[in-house]
């Protein structure tokens, strides 16, 4: 099967380990990821300042995807949320669609409803399926425990993103972890927001939001936290040291991408999955998978 | 006297009991249902509702005691169960053996129904009763049947008035000057231009029209700023933003209809350009059907809501401003309104005819919180109070009331067989005690003797307990019958014997629940089911002790919950008198006790019975 991959702004520049592992895993599971170089920013960062323009940016991506006829698969949760919400809005509001189309006319694009936007993790769950994935696992990660971090835009707002999982009692990422043979941790702050949305406005606040989860997982002693979004990665991995210092907390939590975990279980070597670029490495796991 | 036979039907609670041993111990014969001729009298080990039709038709015409034996036996040691079963069968046999009761002449209840009142509530009542097939006389003091009362939707009133069914006779410009009687035999005196006439009705539904009573605005507000909500106020004029303060139950008691009125006014104001309505209330009374939706509509239209505590809305700026503390913002807000609409509540008063202390001594009439009344019903069978006077604050509630009242009236007047009080006229001294104590209006003093109203008795038995000559009792609940049964039961019960007089609305269901759960009662506990705790009476309690019981526990409903208004209160008082009597005789006063409980309090019953029985056993009485 084929899908149009949406890289967004951050992943292709700052999170190459995510992209590399995502492409390897997709290929191994029979999903051909097609690239469209003209895709740019999904519009998320612009929403607070000018949401009408942001909607047009999202519509641009959706229009380009519609032209290929392929499902649109973002790697970043914020992109997935933004594009899904935009499609939902445009598909249900003819006035908004007419206004957006007037803008798209200037770009020579036409918005067409019916583009299926799904985060890569969701796409793997729904289109490939746990059974098929389990069938391809060659290196079960038994004995390791990962703490899934769902973040806020993978499942919410449920009105728009719904159908996969219950945001107040999520299980989807836990299932994807369990299929590798590893344990998925259920912990108190499972549903906490990473704080990435306020990093620009108030670094201290963002750090406090992420710090709670980091503190709990340090105490729990997990192999790693598993994320599916580059923003969350910025908070938990990039900001880890700064948060530990500012909050005067002992924090040591390796942060990996879900696709990196899947990749290891599917038999890839750590170097193939971009682990060199991980800042806080899960040493035991990498040893075991050499 | 006929000898009763025991018809043993297996069922829950009877496992492991040897029917032959039970029959032998209770001194009754066993009979196989359907085999040969039916016995002269019978005790069946199952409640009537759960007995197969074949058995019931086989026993047709014979005195039968339906004994829910499984519930009375309960769990525990086999010997105790056997003893309890035998005692229960014996007691039932005693009652069955009293023979065929002479048929009592029951005058036919009048079928015509009077609906007196105006507005949507009255119209709904007329529709509901006529819909069940009873001829209705709809009488009221005004002219037009479709005229809405305060709080009514005028369109609804017009529609109901136009669509009155064929069985409804109209009597406009009519006053109800006097009302007497009970279900099946009410006499109403109606007066109009043609004169005064007395008419007979089977049931009476009164729907006094409601009026708006205004709430006093906060003291100190400039009077020129204030108008009344229920008087179609004009929006204030002006160019810029104008502000209207609407008081929906701030200084006075609020009603749901009044709150609804306030929200409608808010919607009307918000429909004007550049108008801002602020609605103040102590409570948002939205529980009426449609209330939540109206509340949301008002908010969507832009009305702002402010909840204030009692006394929390203060007058400022020399009578031109209103101030209150907003708990969400944590600060004081001040508003200078262009108009203040003072709230109103919807009220109706008890009809004049019911205020006659001689004809209508029993009360309370209106008890919407009462678990067994409410919804338009009063304790007086066949008499219903509908509309705002009974707590209905809108057409939906009035519709429910009308349906409930009509259904019950229909039951009384036609379908359901009601118990009848039996009067032994050679014993009756016409003291009128029964007339005085019955809350349902069943015993009537007519033609120099006590006559039962055709459809008013509910079988509570308070008359039987209170009659000094034992001259009246609902069929089956006479003093002799109860005592006969007690004799036979006490003869078999283990000593010390504790008789539990169990009210059918509370203690009996609780006991049943315990028995079905396998609870083991102490040996010697004997159950006497009663329709109401008020049936117990001083005489029965003392007689029970005289017959050999060591103690009596009367178990009835909680205060305020009695279906017959004061049956439980009477029982409590009589138990107190019995205790005092015992004390005077030098016996232990605590051998008798009254336990208030509800049907969902089995543990309270269990604890009380066990405790009292334990005390009696310890004393070795």
């Amino acid at each position: 099967m084929e899908a149009l991959v949406f890289l967004g702004c951050t992943v292709p520049v700052r999170n190459l380990n995510y992209e590399v592992s995502a492409r390897k895993v997709a290929e191994a599971l029979g999903v051909r990821l097609v690239d469209l170089p003209e895709l740019g920013c999904c519009g998320y960062p612009l929403k607070s300042g000018d949401q009408r323009a942001a909607l047009v940016l999202a519509a641009r991506a959706l229009a380009q995807a519609a032209a290929t006829g392929l499902p649109l698969v973002p790697l970043c949760s914020a992109c997935a949320g933004t594009l899904t919400e935009a499609a939902h809005h445009l598909d249900h509001d003819p006035e908004a669609r007419a206004a957006v189309q007037a803008e798209l006319d200037q770009l020579g694009l036409t918005y067409r409803p019916g583009v299926k936007v799904r985060h890569l993790a969701r796409f793997l769950l729904e289109e490939v399926g746990l059974e098929a994935i389990a069938g391809k696992v060659v290196r079960p990660l038994t004995g390791f425990t990962f703490a899934p971090h769902y973040g806020c835009h993978f499942l919410k707002p449920s009105r728009v993103m719904g159908g996969l999982d219950d945001p107040e009692d999520p299980r989807s990422l836990a299932q994807l972890i369990a299929v590798t043979g590893a344990q998925s941790l259920d912990y108190a702050r499972l549903k906490d927001c990473c704080g990435g949305g306020v990093l620009g406005a108030d670094e201290d606040l963002a750090g406090r939001m992420a710090g709670g989860k980091l503190g709990e997982l340090t105490a729990a002693g997990v192999t790693a936290m598993a994320v599916v979004c580059p923003f969350c990665n910025v908070m938990f991995e990039g900001q880890q040291k700064a948060i530990a210092k500012r909050l005067e907390l002992e924090i040591k939590v390796p942060v990996v991408y879900l696709t990196q975990i899947l990749g290891l279980a599917l038999g890839f070597k750590p170097d193939e999955l971009g682990f060199k670029l991980n800042r806080v490495k899960p040493k035991e796991l990498l040893e075991a998978c050499k | 006297m006929p000898r009763p036979a025991l018809i043993w039907l297996e069922g829950p609670g009877l496992e492991g009991l040897d029917r032959e041993m039970v029959a032998r111990a209770a001194q009754v014969e066993l009979a196989e249902p359907g085999r040969g001729l039916a016995p002269e009298a019978a005790v069946v080990t199952r409640a009537e509702a759960r007995t197969p039709e074949s058995v019931k038709s086989w026993l047709q015409g014979k005195p039968v005691q339906w004994l829910d034996l499984g519930a009375e036996v309960g769990g525990g040691q086999p010997a105790h169960r056997l003893a309890r079963a035998a005692a229960a069968v014996a007691r039932a046999a005693g009652r069955a053996g009293l023979g065929v009761l002479a048929p009592v002449y029951a005058p036919q209840p009048a079928q015509r129904v009077l609906v007196f009142g105006q507005g949507v509530a009255a119209l709904l009542a007329a529709h509901a009763v006529a819909g069940l097939g009873h001829p209705v006389l709809l009488a009221w003091s005004g002219e037009d049947p479709s005229r809405p009362a305060a709080g009514d939707d005028p369109q609804e009133a017009t529609r109901l008035g136009a669509l009155l069914p064929a069985g409804v006779e109209l009597s406009p410009r009519t006053d109800l000057t006097r009302l007497e009687g009970a279900a099946g035999a009410f006499t109403a005196w109606l007066e109009d231009v043609t004169g005064r006439r007395a008419e007979r009705f089977g049931a009476v539904l009164l729907a006094p029209p409601a009026t708006w009573t205004g709430e006093a605005p906060p003291a100190g507000l400039r009077p020129e700023l204030v108008a009344r909500l229920d008087q179609a106020p004009e929006p204030p004029a002006g160019d810029g933003w104008r502000r209207v303060a609407i008081l929906a139950g701030v200084n006075g008691p609020a009603t749901a209809a009044g709150f609804s009125l306030a929200l409608h006014a808010a919607l009307a104001m918000q429909a004007q350009p550049r108008m801002q309505a602020h609605v103040f209330f102590r409570e948002a009374l939205v529980a009426e059907p449609g209330g939540e939706r109206l509340y949301r509509q008002a908010r969507e239209a832009g009305a702002l809501m402010a909840r204030v505590a009692e006394g929390g809305l203060r007058v400022t700026a020399e009578g031109r401003g209103l101030a209150w503390d907003d708990p969400v913002l944590g600060e004081e807000l001040e508003l200078m309104p262009d108009l203040v609409l003072a709230g109103a509540g919807l009220e109706a008063s008890l009809p004049e005819v019911l205020r006659d202390p001689v004809l209508w001594p029993q009360g309370p009439w209106l008890a919407p919180e009462h678990a067994r009344l409410g919804g338009g019903r009063t304790a007086r069978s066949g008499l219903y109070l509908l509309g705002a006077v009974a707590g209905a604050q809108g057409a939906a509630a009035a519709r429910v009331q009308a349906a409930a009242a009509a259904a019950e009236a229909h039951d009384l007047l036609g379908g359901r067989a009601t118990p009848l009080p039996v009067v032994r006229h050679n014993h009756c001294a016409s003291c009128l005690t029964c007339v005085r104590v019955c809350p349902h209006g069943a015993p009537r003093y007519d033609n120099d003797c006590i006559t039962p109203a055709p459809a008013a008795c509910v079988g509570c038995g308070i008359c039987a307990a209170e009659c000094p000559a034992q001259a009246i009792a609902p069929v089956g609940w006479g003093q002799n019958e109860l005592i006969e049964g007690l004799k036979r039961g006490l003869a078999l019960a283990a000593k010390p014997a504790l008789v539990v007089m169990a009210c059918g609305q509370s203690a009996l269901p609780a006991a049943r629940e315990l028995s079905l759960a396998g609870h083991e009662w102490p040996a010697g506990v004997l159950w006497l089911p009663l329709p109401c705790a008020g049936r117990a009476g001083l005489e029965l309690i003392l007689r029970t002790l005289a017959l050999g019981a060591a103690g009596v526990l009367v178990a009835g409903c909680h205060e305020g919950m009695c279906r017959s208004l004061a049956g439980n209160l009477r029982a409590r008082l009589r138990v107190g008198e019995a205790a005092a009597t015992l004390g005077e005789l030098g016996l232990s006063a605590d051998a008798v006790a009254f336990l208030p409980l509800a049907s969902n309090q089995p543990l309270a019953l269990k604890d009380a019975v066990t405790a009292l029985h334990g005390r009696l056993a310890a004393r070795g009485e």
């Binding site: 292709p12 740019g40 607070s48 949401q51 200037q106 707002p157 927001c193 | 600060e331």
Partner: protein, 165 residues
């Protein structure tokens, strides 16, 4: 606070903005405030209070407030709201109004400039593409012209348009 000094029209402006339609439905149950992760850490940040101020019409404390930029867009409030206010979307509406009134923080302008220059938040040059090539990843291009058209902005003088412009 004097109510008469406030602007009753503010709530209609918010309701007219995409996403703000639900604001008037709020009846102040505080489910949102209870769920808000920012509110748990910043006492002054209270979604219910913000809604109340917006409904009353205190422009100063809503549009000009620095608090409205602290929302992390986690959508928790929208999940728990019993009246379907969708406060996370109302917040976007309020921010848009605030931006148009001139209260946007500097980062907002920076974002728009970046998008106009590169069509992306983060610039992509040969340096980035070389790094990608080392890992076997296909190159990424910039297409800023479309973004300039949509945003009505011209690229800053001196900026390279990038590949594929």
């Amino acid at each position: 606070m004097r109510i008469n000094d406030c602007d009753p029209g503010l709530k209609y402006e918010i309701a007219a903005e995409p996403g703000g339609e639900g604001i008037k439905a709020c009846f102040g149950c505080a489910a949102c405030s209870a769920r808000c992760p920012v509110g748990a850490l910043v006492p002054d940040y209270d979604p219910r209070r913000l809604i109340r101020l917006a409904l009353i019409g205190d422009r100063e404390r809503v549009l000009a407030s620095p608090l409205i930029w602290l929302c992390s867009a986690c959508h928790g409030c929208a999940e728990v709201c019993p009246q379907d206010v969708r406060f996370s979307e109302v917040m976007t509406a309020i921010r848009n109004l605030a931006s148009r009134a001139g209260y946007a923080p500097p980062s907002q302008k920076a974002i728009a400039k970046q998008l106009a220059a590169h069509g992306r938040l983060l610039e992509v040059t040969d340096f980035e593409n070389n790094k990608r090539a080392e890992l076997g990843l296909p190159p990424v291009s910039e297409a800023p012209r479309d973004y300039q058209t949509i945003l009505g902005l011209a690229p800053e003088a001196g900026q390279e348009p990038g590949e594929g412009a």
